[in-house]
């Protein structure tokens, strides 16, 4: 058909007819439900949260617009800055260790070990136990008078007094990082294991014949082939850690003296327990730039590498 012919048939129908049948609009109609759900359940709450951060809303009172006053207030708030510090500390340390341990475990589990399937399921246990349950277990392990760690160390004659795990600010911080690592390692390990299993064994054989040692096999074959999946798993790991709430809330509730508040727990405490919705919303909104930064980072990490592009002739 020529352009003219298309034009005449097109104008022959009503606009609605055209909207109903045109290819591009068809796409639009199909996307509408998904867009609706996203707007209703993601964009609206997010927008509402950001809006609340500009008001002095309290529980039971809708509040009025007060501009940046909440943020102004927060900028002088030592507890807020303490929570920013601890959130970063917690995220960075836990993520690095989770990555290292997870990769190590994945490499180990990828070998031909006896009872491979059993070992793989054991590794998953920390991940399937409900967070609150594992938090309570850790709470018990770290208890100031019943801690099994203190008890064993005393029996071994290494220390004289029970360690005040959760009562001392730095002890508490490290304890929480350890608990988070314990919970997060399985996710990293199993995902990386899945990635490792996609690497064809003949690549290792080729590299071995080419003269690569075990380390060089890892450095030049395994690691580069694993980078795409590392980018995915670490993005998720960082996001989960940054927005963690349950573990902290169950173990320390941000104490002692607010030393272990994450931004998420502080926000909850101010907004829901303290009733200052506006201020809590401001703290939560302050998390957004950090999260955006993490997402940007992963966006670049997830870009298809040059070697992944091009036709696949297999």
């Amino acid at each position: 058909m020529t352009d003219a012919a298309i034009a005449t048939t097109a104008t022959g129908r009503s606009t609605w007819e055209r909207l109903r049948s045109h290819r591009d609009w068809m796409g639009f109609w199909f996307m509408l439900p998904a867009a609706g759900i996203l707007i209703l359940f993601l964009a609206y709450p997010l927008g509402l949260g950001v809006w609340l951060s500009f008001t002095d809303a309290k529980i039971g009172r809708s509040g009025s617009f007060i501009g940046l006053e909440n943020y102004d207030w927060l900028s002088d708030d030592k507890i807020f800055w303490g929570s920013v510090f601890f959130t970063l500390f917690y995220t960075i340390f836990a993520s690095i260790v989770k990555f290292a341990l997870g990769l190590y475990l994945a490499l180990l589990l990828n070998k031909n070990l006896p009872m491979k399937a059993l070992l793989r399921s054991i590794v998953l246990i920390p991940y399937i136990v409900p967070t609150v349950l594992s938090a309570i277990a850790f709470w018990w392990i770290y208890d100031s008078s019943f801690s099994i760690i203190s008890w064993s160390l005393i029996k071994l004659g290494l220390i004289d007094n029970y360690i005040n795990f959760l009562g001392d600010p730095w002890n508490a911080r490290w304890c929480l990082v350890v608990a988070n690592i314990w919970r997060g390692v399985p996710f990293v390990a199993i995902t990386l294991l899945a990635g490792l299993q996609t690497v064809s064994p003949s690549l290792y054989e080729a590299a071995t014949i080419d003269g690569a040692s075990r380390w060089q096999n890892f450095r030049f074959v395994t690691y580069p082939l694993l980078t795409p999946i590392i980018a995915v798993v670490m993005t998720f790991s960082v996001l989960f850690t940054f927005t963690d709430f349950q573990l902290i809330w169950a173990m320390t509730r941000g104490g002692p003296v607010n030393a272990t508040h994450l931004m998420a727990t502080l926000s909850y405490q101010r907004a829901i327990l303290g009733g200052n919705l506006g201020e809590g919303a401001a703290i939560a909104t302050a998390m957004i730039p950090f999260l955006l930064a993490a997402i940007m980072f992963s966006w670049f990490g997830l870009q298809k590498r040059k070697w992944q592009q091009g036709g696949d002739n297999d």
Binding site: S200, S202, L203, E205, A206, A207, T208, I209, D210, G211, A212, Q216, F220, V221, P224, L225, R305, K306, W307, Q308, Q309, G310, G311, D312, N313
Partner: protein, 356 residues
């Protein structure tokens, strides 16, 4: 370059033995093809030469040095894998230069050797591409390039052409043979395709169920197979086997098949009247002949240069390959004969060739 000696080599995975004592002598510069049906242990043997599998028993030496306990990288061999095993995250150049890089060769040296190999294989325009951006044939060539760059003592190939289409396979076959004539590096080449074996090898090793059936030059195996397995495996279409007995007619030795077909033979084993035997005759050695034995035509397949006729005698099918353009119709009876010097006789129990 080096010779390779395989002495009574055995391989078992746990309790399952897959190679039962194999002996092969490979001379310096020789092109040896290991051929056999799938699962007969060709790859396993090759991987033992490469050092990718432990040797359960026996001894392998390369260039006079026993390598049983030498790790692959010190054996000075290069291997081309069936799936090419190119590193997907490296360019063609880096793939080819990887072994030199690991050996800490300097940049200029790597550059020189890679571009030499690329010249030989016509890979110059592709050096900056990634494996995904190459066609199957180009990948195959890169895999060979990676082997050539190392200038090893021995090349090992494991079914390098089986992922290519038929036409490319024929072209690469010639190319690999040319390459060998040029580099003269000792080569062990594994394939399940007897045509590849026949066309490329200086020496063929026919394997079956973990043992060597026969070793010899391509035409030796074709003309003088040691047993029914080799006779049936080498040559295409495969040799016809007819069960029957030896006898004599008018003072001449003949073979009488169970179906009543009677074919003259040149030399019968001594004192063999009435002895049950299997007669083997290649399709291409059968010709139409008015005085020959009568068979019934089942299917006719003209191919231009020759005509393939599937015929029946009793309940046994025979394949005949005629050079002349005969066009019998199915169901018709034709008469065929063959040169009595070109038939083979086998012992029906052991499958071994009967000495005349």
């Amino acid at each position: 370059m080096a010779s390779v000696d395989i002495r009574d080599v055995r391989k078992a995975y746990g309790a399952t033995a897959v190679i039962h004592g194999v002996n092969v002598d490979i001379k310096d510069g020789e092109f040896v093809v290991l051929v056999g049906p799938s699962g007969c242990g060709k790859s396993t043997l090759l991987r033992m030469i490469a050092g990718l599998e432990n040797i359960t028993g026996g001894q392998i030496s390369i260039g006079g040095r026993v390598v049983n306990d030498v790790p692959p990288k010190e054996r000075d061999i290069a291997m081309v894998f069936q799936n090419y095993a190119l590193y997907p995250h490296m360019t063609v150049y880096d793939n080819m230069g990887f072994s030199l890089k690991l050996r800490k060769a300097d940049k200029a040296e790597i550059e020189k050797r890679v571009s030499q190999a690329a010249d030989i294989l016509g890979l110059k325009p592709l050096l900056e591409r990634y494996p995904r951006q190459l066609s199957g044939g180009q990948r195959q060539r890169v895999a060979m390039g990676r082997a050539i760059v190392r200038n090893p003592q021995v090349f090992l190939f494991d079914e390098p052409l089986s992922n290519l289409d038929a036409k490319l396979r024929v072209a690469m076959r010639t190319e690999i043979k040319e390459l060998h004539q040029r580099l003269k590096t000792t080569t062990v080449y594994v394939t399940h395709d007897q045509i590849e074996a026949m066309t490329m090898a200086d020496k063929i090793v026919v394997m079956h169920d973990g043992i060597v059936e026969q070793i010899g030059a391509p035409l030796d195996l074709y003309d003088r197979p040691d047993n029914m397995f080799v006779a049936g495996f080498i040559g295409s279409p495969a040799m016809n086997f007819l069960r029957g007995k030896l006898g004599s007619e008018n003072g001449r030795s003949v073979f009488k098949s169970d179906s009543g077909l009677s074919l003259p033979i040149a030399r019968a084993p001594a004192a063999s009247d009435g002895k049950p035997v299997v007669l083997g005759v290649r399709p291409e050695h059968l010709a139409t002949n008015g005085d020959g034995a009568a068979v019934n035509v089942v299917v006719v397949e003209p191919m231009g240069s020759e005509t393939q006729v599937v015929a029946k005698t009793g309940d046994q099918e025979m394949i005949c390959l005629f050079r002349d353009r005969v066009m019998p119709s199915p169901g018709e009876t034709i008469r065929i004969a063959c040169d009595p010097n070109l038939v083979h006789l086998f012992d029906p129990d052991s499958g071994k060739t009967l000495a005349a």
